[in-house]
Structure formats: structure tokens, C-alpha cells
Symmetry: none
DNA sequence: AATGAATGAGGCTTCATTCAT
DNA sequence: CATGAATGAAGCCTCATTCAT
């Protein structure tokens, strides 16, 4: 009496729990028994579905990011302009709500662990690449509609995505200097300055500028 | 006649070793006995100078970053123009040589650990703030000499430093997309586009652009 | 079909071993690995059933004394007179055979440890109280049959039990002055003098005395 | 420039500290460094005066008890009657003030440790014997003045001293049943009943009794 | 005579993994 | 399929002891 989907379902249940626990206590303090508890299964079940702890962790990393990407896929259609879609993408990635926070925490753990783990490097290369491409695609679409400055969309994407990652780290560390609100505005600022089409100034005095400005002061 | 500063010396010796080991095997796999071996002392000596493993690790994080900052302090004078100084700062922070790589790896470990450790968050806030200020200072100096675009130096600093961190993570993960060379050029690109003064174009066709461009293709 | 009471059985097995080892080498030198060896389980099994070493030790103390008491429960019925029952109780408590010796040694360790441990003080209060009550009950029964002198049975019990403990300590320390035989006779002497009904002397000259006497010389 | 007494003085200083710490934290948790701190010397000094920890402990036990005995020596003269002297001895041994409590605690630690240590058994045999003899001597003196019942003073001493030890243990364990006040009265009760001369009753009805009675109820 | 920096053996505890049921 | 009892390797930490000064 094989219920073929039981296995897949169980796996997902375990990986979901793994992500929760990783986000919660970190890879350092992660115990399989914690995952078991959160997943509502016995510790033996974990190793029934995954050979080693490392396997669980790696699968959880993959699971975490592919789920994040999935959520982004339909995002394009729901925006009127490609620039708005870009801003929407960025907004959805901010470590603002619990959902995004957990995903970010897991991702940050992957970064630390991935420095010495080729498998995780592969995961990063593959899934992170998709995320970067998503951004690049949005930029390219905007350029095609004449809403974005010219320039290599891939480079622009690197600039933006790199910055998002760096700022997110500071938010995750509860930096008083870099709150999530400040991060949001900083991201929009970069889109304004580097990506979105600059309205041509009419008076020479304003030509080329005024550049970066206008964020509210910290705190 | 007391041995004058055996203690301070020994502490530094241990912390140096700790950074080496953290960069090498990660916080996860860090064993005090490894640090002891690298430091050339007994394992007991470690806990003679630091109460717990956590204390060693926290002190090592602090040590790692304050040493990095120290190395940057004299960097201003050695450059002819503030923009060059800025580029020099960025260059010195690239995860290019073994020295910088180790510092980056340790720093990345702090990020992961710091998400749940207030003490490390303090370290980040304090030392990372100094690094951001260093960059902001360089930008301000360039603005005063008319070499940089106007705009809030702090925001500009956040844009640049954030991006550096984000790109560095990818380099540390051996991303095929983001090598250290690509990172360098991406950083210079951002300085060109956002910070350094744009030579005013003579022909309207070129006005405001051409923006991001010119990096060699990946791989 | 769950293994029915593996847990209870295993616990008892471990506590039995713990008592043996405590009696053998003392609390001071007690190692969990020794208990494991005697119990025939792995060291991990110990901490699987008991969170900490302290938990094992406390449970062992409780186990040791409640088992001792259990053995005494049926003792009443097997004696013709309450005074004989009392003497039987005392006899069974002498540190004479290996069984009683082990129980005494464990108990003596509890005394030392209990001076600073409230949990053990509770154990002592509860179980030691039962033992004292057992004696008081025997005295009361004897009084009711007119075989014992009048007087508060609880005080009499304190006198007797206190003395038993004090003398036992000397026996446990292998005092040449206080052997187990001497202890036995000293206990009977106290029962004779203070508890058992004194046959009324016929001649006034002997009235009330001669009291304590008649033990063989030491050694 | 030898100050010959420095050594003796230092030793005593260390032993005094050792007794304090043993009484305070127990033999189990005793660290030489604690003794050093209390004695106001370096940890090295301890092992300069004593080869091993065991040596310190054994010497401390001896020191503890011989000092207790010393304090008792002059006690005989200060009492008008030998029975009062006996009661005075008992009173001075009650674990009532801080001084006596510390001595008792150390002594109780010796009991636990002494079960497996011949050296400590010797200390017990020798010093405990002196204490028992002191009591026996007081009883003998009382008998000679016709104030005590006849009977072997040594046995009487065993009865009394044994009971004191047993009751003291309960007091040290903070038994709610056996407080120091209750212990005092129980001791006097035993002296009344077994040792002090009973006033001959005038009426036959009272002959031989009333025995043990009259203590206030517990708590 | 005294110090205290340094050692390293040893034990408790954690926890991934195994496996009988 | 799933369990959870049992294992045992491994590491942090404690602390008596040593020894250069």
C-alpha cells in the first residue's frame, strides 16, 4: 500500500522545520533533535530520510532559496511598469517581515558555511544566479521601454544585488545605523541614481546632479 | 621583576592563532586545541587567558577587525588625490591577497554568529561604523576638492560599503560569476558612476550617459 | 508493541550500579564511566537516563535508602515480641554484612554532600524520618504490651537512632575502639537501660542500678 | 636571615584557610586556589608547603580537631560539679555557633573521606579517642563524687558521644525534626536518664521511672 | 621564601548515528 | 514507514602540579 507522496511530503516537512531551526538558533547550535521536534517526527525519522546531518542542512539551504525564488516568479505581471516591478522585487526581498527574515537568516548561514563547502557553493551559484538574472531581466525590460538608463544590465544587477546583500547583513545584525527602513530608502536611492532614467534637467545649473541625497537622518 | 607584558603578548599570540583557525576551518569546526596548536601553546593556556571558548572567539573577532582598520589608518596620506585614496581603500579591502582573505573570512563568520549574539552586534556596530566613516571621510574630502559629485557622503558610503560586502561574499563563495577581478571593476564602476565627478559631456547625445558599461565579460 | 518498562528497568540497573560505586570509591572519586561499566551499559546511556551526574547521584541516594526501608517493612511480623522486633530492626541495621555496609557507606556520603544540598536534605528528612518512625512505632508497641518503660517514644527513638548513626560512623572508619560487635552490644545496652522494662529489683540496695555495664573489654 | 617561625606560621595560616573552605564548600568542591585566596597567598605557596592536595586536606583535618580539643582542655576547672562540667562539654560541642559549626562540618567531611583513607582513620582514632576519653573522665569524676550512676564510664561515654555525633549530623543537614535546641535537650535527657544520679523515688509507684519525657514538641 | 604562568591529564556532557522492534 | 533506546567519539573545561624567576 504505497502512498508515494508520503515520502515527498515528509521530506518537505523536515526541510521546513530545518529552515525554521537554522534561522532560529543558527547552524552552529543546530541539533537534529530540534528539527525533529519542530517537524513533529522522531529523530530517527530524520536519518531515515537523510543520511547525514550535512545532507539535511544542504537540502534545507536549497529548499530555502528555491522557495524564495518561487514566490518571486509571478511578481512581474502584477506591476504596471518594469521599474515598478524592479522596486517590487527589491521590496519583497527586504528583511522586513518574519518570512523574509527567516529566509535571510538561513541564507546568511549558508554564506558562512559555504566558504568551505563546494556543494553549498554550487547551490549559491545556481540559485543566487537566478535571483541576479531576475533583477537583470527587470532592468533589461525597463531599458527596452526607455525607462532605465543604458548600460550592461548584468553589471547593474551586480551593483544592486551586491548592495542589497551587504545592507541586509547589517540589518540582520540589528545595526542601529542600518535599519530596514534605511535600507529600503538606500535601495530606492540606488535605483534612482543608477538605473531609473534621469529626467533631463532643463537648467544647466542642475546638469548631472544633484546626486545622492534626501534620505532622512538615521534614527 | 615581573615579566613585563607576558600576558598581553600571549593574548595576542592566541588571538592571532584563533583568527587563522577561524578563517581556515570556520567557527563551526573550531576547536580550542587547534588554536593552541597554531599558537604553539597548550590547550590549558587558552583557557588560562580566556574563560570560555566564546570569549576567545569574541576577542578574536574584535582583534581581527581592529587590526584591519589599523592597517588602513595611514593610507590617506600616501595618495595624491582623495579619489585615489578612496580607490586605494577599496583596493586594500578586496579579498585579493591571503591577508585580506583571512580577514574577510573571519568577518563573514562574525556575520553569521552575530545574528544571535548581542556582543558581536556591538563589535560590528562599533568597528564596522569606523570603516564606513573612513569611506565617508574620503568622499567628503573629494567633494571638498571638487572631485566628487555632491550628495550625502554617508549615504554614498552606505551604497559603496554595502556593495563591497555583498560582492565580497560572492567572491568568498568562489562564485564563477563574481571573481575578485570582476569585483574590483564593479567597485570602480560604482565610484565612477556615483561618486567621482562626471566630466560634462559636450554633445547632447551623450548627456547623462553612457552609464554602467565596459566591464569585460564574465569568464 | 513498545518494550514495556525498559526505562524503569534500566534506571534501576544504573542506580544499583551507582550505589555500588559510591560505596566503593566515594562520591569524590565517582566517575560516570565507572557506573556505566558496573551497570554494563555505555556511558552515554547514563546521561540518556539522567541529565547530569548530580541527578544520578541524588537518585542513587534516594534509591539506596528507600530500598533499605523496604527490606525492613516486613520485619515486624516475624518477631514474637515488640522488644525483639526492635532488637531485630537494630540488628538488621548494623553495618555487619556487605549489604548493610554498602547502604551505610552510601548514606554516609549523603551526609557529607547533604550539608550543602537542599535536595539531599529533603531526602534525608523524608526517608530518615520514616526510619525513625519505624523505631518509634516499635517502642510504642512495646509500651502498649507493658514491655517498655514509659516515656515519649519519639524522644526514645531519637536517642537510639542518633546513637546508632554515631556509632556506625566509627565502625565505618574501622575504629579499633568501636567494632561492629561492640556497637551491637552498646545498642542492646541502651535498649536495656532506657527502653526495655527494668525488672524491679527485690532488694533496695540494687534499686535503679547497676546501670551500664557488662560489655567485654575492647579488643 | 632565617625567621624560623615564618614557616610554622604560614602553615597554620594555610590550614586555617583550608578548614574554612572545606566547611564552606565541602571536600568535593575544594580547590587549592580557593584556599590560597582565603589564606591570602599564591597558589604556588600552598604546594610549597604541602606536597599534594591530599596532604593539605589531611593536615587540615588534624588541625581542625586538635584545635577543637585544645579549646576544651581548660573546661574542667571552670565548673563547680563534674556533672556540670560534663554538661558544659556537651554544650560546647553543639553545632550552635559559627565556630562549632565549622568544626563539625569539617569533621563530617572527614567521616566521608575517612571511610577509604587509612591516614584519616588514624586521625579519627587518635583525636576522637581523646574526645571520648574526656567525656569518660568527666563521668568517672562524677561517679567518684557520687553524682553519677555506677557503670562502665567508657560505655557510658560511647553511648553519649555516639548519640551526639548522630544527632549532630541531622542538625548539619538542617533537619526540621532535629534542631540544635532539640539536640541540646535530647543530650541533657540522656545525661539525666543514664548518667546523672537518679534521686531515689520515695513512693514505689514511681520506682524506676518516669523515664524519658518532658521535651517540648518539635516545632 | 614565594610567585603565578603554563601545563596536560581527565571527566562530564553533547549529539549524530545506528539498529532492533 | 517509523520509532527511540543505546552508543561512543569528541571537545570544553577544570584544576592539581610544575618550574622559571
Amino acid at each position: 500500500m504505497a502512498r508515494p507522496s508520503v515520502e515527498a511530503e515528509r521530506r518537505e516537512q523536515i526541510l521546513e522545520a530545518a529552515c525554521t531551526v537554522i534561522a532560529d538558533v543558527g547552524l552552529q547550535a543546530l541539533r537534529l533533535s530540534d528539527i525533529a521536534k519542530v517537524a513533529g517526527v522522531s529523530s530517527g525519522t530524520i536519518t531515515y530520510y537523510f543520511d547525514t546531518k550535512k545532507d539535511v542542512v544542504n537540502a534545507a539551504f536549497e529548499f530555502n532559496f528555491s522557495k524564495s525564488l518561487e514566490r518571486r516568479q509571478g511578481m512581474f505581471e502584477s506591476h504596471s511598469s518594469p521599474i515598478d516591478a524592479l522596486r517590487g522585487l527589491v521590496e519583497s526581498y527586504l528583511p522586513a517581515d518574519e518570512h523574509a527574515l527567516q529566509a535571510w537568516r538561513v541564507w546568511a548561514e549558508l554564506w558562512a558555511e559555504g566558504m568551505r563547502d563546494e556543494t553549498l557553493q554550487e547551490v549559491n551559484e545556481r540559485l543566487y544566479g537566478q535571483w541576479r538574472d531576475l533583477i537583470a531581466e527587470a532592468i533589461r525590460a525597463a531599458q527596452e521601454e526607455g525607462l532605465a538608463e543604458p548600460g550592461d544590465p548584468e553589471i547593474m544587477s551586480n551593483l544592486l544585488v551586491g548592495m542589497i546583500d551587504g545592507l541586509a547583513v547589517q540589518v540582520l545584525l540589528h545595526s542601529r545605523h542600518m535599519t530596514v527602513d534605511r535600507m529600503r530608502e538606500t535601495c530606492h536611492c540606488m535605483i534612482d541614481e543608477l538605473i531609473a532614467k534621469h529626467p533631463r534637467p532643463t537648467t544647466p545649473a542642475m546638469a548631472g546632479g544633484p546626486a545622492v541625497s534626501g534620505l532622512p537622518p538615521v534614527e
